[in-house]
Amino acid sequence: MKLLLIEDDAALAAEIAKALRAENFALDHAINGEDGQHLGETETYDAVVLDLGLPERDGVSVLQAWRAAGRTLPVLILTARDGWSDKVAGFKAGADDYLVKPFRVEELVIRLRALVRRASAHGANRIACGPLAYDAGLGTFERDGLPLKLTGLEWRVLSCLILRKDGIVPRGQLIERVYEGDAEVDSNSVEVIITRLRRKIVPARIESVRGIGYQLLPGEAS
């Protein structure tokens, strides 16, 4: 899962980035509205954390520009303005959630996971695929009821696949949702991660669809 953080305060952005990466999220960071809007329009993100008071272009206008251009990516507004009027204005501009500074990082993470889950049209927090289950509230995987240990990259790939378990995830999209913007992506590295994951999740399996991408399936091939 990859997020876009648009926040001009360097100290806060560093803390948020540290906390979110610790929760396995991939993260791109923009320090002003202009860059943020551009990234949101050109890259693929599972969710955006948007500060409202931004230099060059304020958060609400960035959000309105995305919505006007038909970008439906989930947006969580992060702001110091805690009046209900401010919240109403944020939601009217097209926000999906709203968090007031100062906030607890746990709440930010829970809200982001819920946003991503809802964007993938899942009603409940628990998403199952055969023996495999993902808890969108806690961000944890289980296999046959037991916790599954995953590295950050593995978690990103698997969460992406399980949220879209009813379809094929194109390879390019998977790479975009797993690697951060400035990472050097080796064309084989996704293949390596998938191979490691396949061993961890049996009997569930990840099927490669040649020339398209990958799909998570609940059981053995018949």
Partner: protein
């Protein structure tokens, strides 16, 4: 730091309407002036009247004297005689005060009304006492033989035949002067009184009419206070227009200052929140804040900032211009907001707010009051939140109800309890409700909690329409 709320005092007390009023001052001044003018006019007219009547009497006496002088004869025996009878009315009526008398040397001739008594002339007109005035009879006051005051005219003729000066005296009773003067004076007084009354009525009407723009100005200012107007209309009489311009300039200045102060406070508050957020996250790292004391300090700071930011926003209520807020618009925006914020709860919102229901409160404050109530309802409901607004009496009643566990009476009273210290109010059930109560009371409204038809908490917020 007490969370007390200074409430604006009503200005429309039972004022004494005329005490020290301009109207009274003008009317009293006009009354004094009219009274003085009428009294002076009365005295002057009375004086003129007196002189006129006296002149009439004098000319009558003078013509009698002239008639006597022209028909006066002196016999060889030294006796005085008249060529014709000049004892016509009223000089023939006995003791009437109308009389005449001629004296020359020892000889005396009298009108019959004197019945042979002497008409005493004042000392200065006694025979030979002064140079004769053959042309003009002289005025004098005297007393007739019966003690009545009379008006005298005295003509002294020069000595012609060595018999000494001849003095002719004619008298008229004082009553002939005072009677008509008194009669005319009474009529005059009546006419002047009626004139005075008309003037006073006219003056009162004039003062009322003249001061009417001030009354209108008072109403306009009252409407500004009630939030129905932002400025006083400039269409005013020339004398008041500069005052109105100054008041409007003051109002604008006040609004600008208020807005600037609010912006500064908001900037300060929001500027502090980002570092606070950073601090909160940094303290979240393992080992940095083992006993949670630092985190508690940070949340205390956050609570203080929120509290004072809200106070800064609402402190100027009551004095400043208030706008009207359409509840349907406000409720619709909040419904969208809460549907997203509580997306996972799948709450069924029912909003029954007709178009056109508005309250005389600032839009942000309405959002704040209503938002806190709906937030509370969303937090505690099972599946339903019901929002309604309707006119009730002078104001509007907004009802927010949920199907949650509700509150018993004691708990409701505790939640709404005032005068609590800030650090005693913890976020959760009631924090938002006490904010709503505080705001509602600033607007002269109120918040009541009870159990509604959905069996959960029902909050009824009354606000001025």
């Amino acid at each position: 730091m007490k969370a007390s709320s200074p409430r604006p005092k009503p200005l429309h007390g039972p004022a004494r309407p005329h005490s020290g009023s301009l109207q009274r001052r003008l009317i009293v001044a006009a009354l004094v002036l009219v009274t003085i003018a009428l009294v002076v006019a009365g005295i002057a007219i009375g004086f003129i009247l007196h002189r006129f009547v006296r002149g009439q009497l004098d000319s009558r006496l003078d013509s009698q004297i002239v008639a006597i002088a022209s028909s006066l004869e002196r016999g060889r025996d030294g006796r005085l005689a008249l060529r014709r009878n000049l004892d016509g009315p009223p000089f023939d009526r006995e003791r009437s005060g109308w009389s005449w008398q001629i004296r020359q040397g020892d000889a005396t001739l009298r009108s019959s009304s004197l019945e042979g008594h002497d008409l005493p002339a004042p000392a200065e007109h006694r025979q030979d006492s002064r140079t004769p005035h053959p042309d003009h009879p002289q005025p004098a006051d005297g007393v007739d033989p019966w003690g009545n005051t009379v008006i005298l005219r005295i003509l002294t003729l020069p000595d012609e035949a060595g018999a000494g000066n001849a003095t002719i005296v004619a008298s008229a009773p004082m009553a002939a002067l005072s009677g008509p003067v008194r009669e005319a004076g009474l009529t005059l007084a009546l006419i002047l009184s009626i004139l005075g009354l008309c003037l006073v009525v006219g003056l009162v009407a004039q003062v009322r009419l003249g001061l009417r723009p001030l009354e209108r100005l008072r109403r306009d200012l009252g409407e500004i206070r009630a939030g129905k107007r932002a400025q006083v209309p400039e269409k005013q009489p020339a004398e008041i227009r500069p005052l109105v311009r100054e008041v409007n300039a003051l109002l604008s200045q006040n609004a600008v200052n208020l807005e600037r102060a609010r912006t500064h406070v908001a900037n300060l508050a929001h500027g502090l929140k980002t570092p606070l957020a950073t601090l909160t996250m940094a303290l979240g790292d393992a080992g940095k804040d083992p006993d949670g004391r630092l985190s508690a300090l940070v949340s205390g700071m956050d609570a203080q900032i929120r509290h004072h930011l809200r106070r800064a926003r609402t402190a100027a209520l009551g004095g400043a211009t208030r706008e009207r807020t359409d509840l349907a618009v406000s409720a619709a925006g909040l419904r969208t907001t809460f549907a997203r914020l509580y997306a996972d709860k799948g709450i069924a919102f029912t909003v029954e707010v007709s178009d056109g229901i508005a309250v005389a409160c600032d839009g942000q404050d309405v959002d704040e009051m209503l938002g806190n109530l709906i937030d509370n309802a969303c937090r505690w409901c099972r599946a339903q939140v019901w929002i309604a607004a309707a006119f009730s009496g002078q104001g509007v009643t907004i009802t927010v109800e949920d199907d949650g566990p509700g509150l018993d009476e004691d708990a409701a009273a505790r939640v709404l309890g005032r005068g609590r210290r800030l650090d005693e109010t913890v976020p959760g059930h009631g924090f938002g409700l006490s904010i709503t109560t505080e705001l509602a009371e600033l607007y002269g409204g109120s918040l009541h909690l009870d159990r509604g038809t959905l069996h959960g908490l029902r909050a009824r917020l009354e606000l001025p329409a």
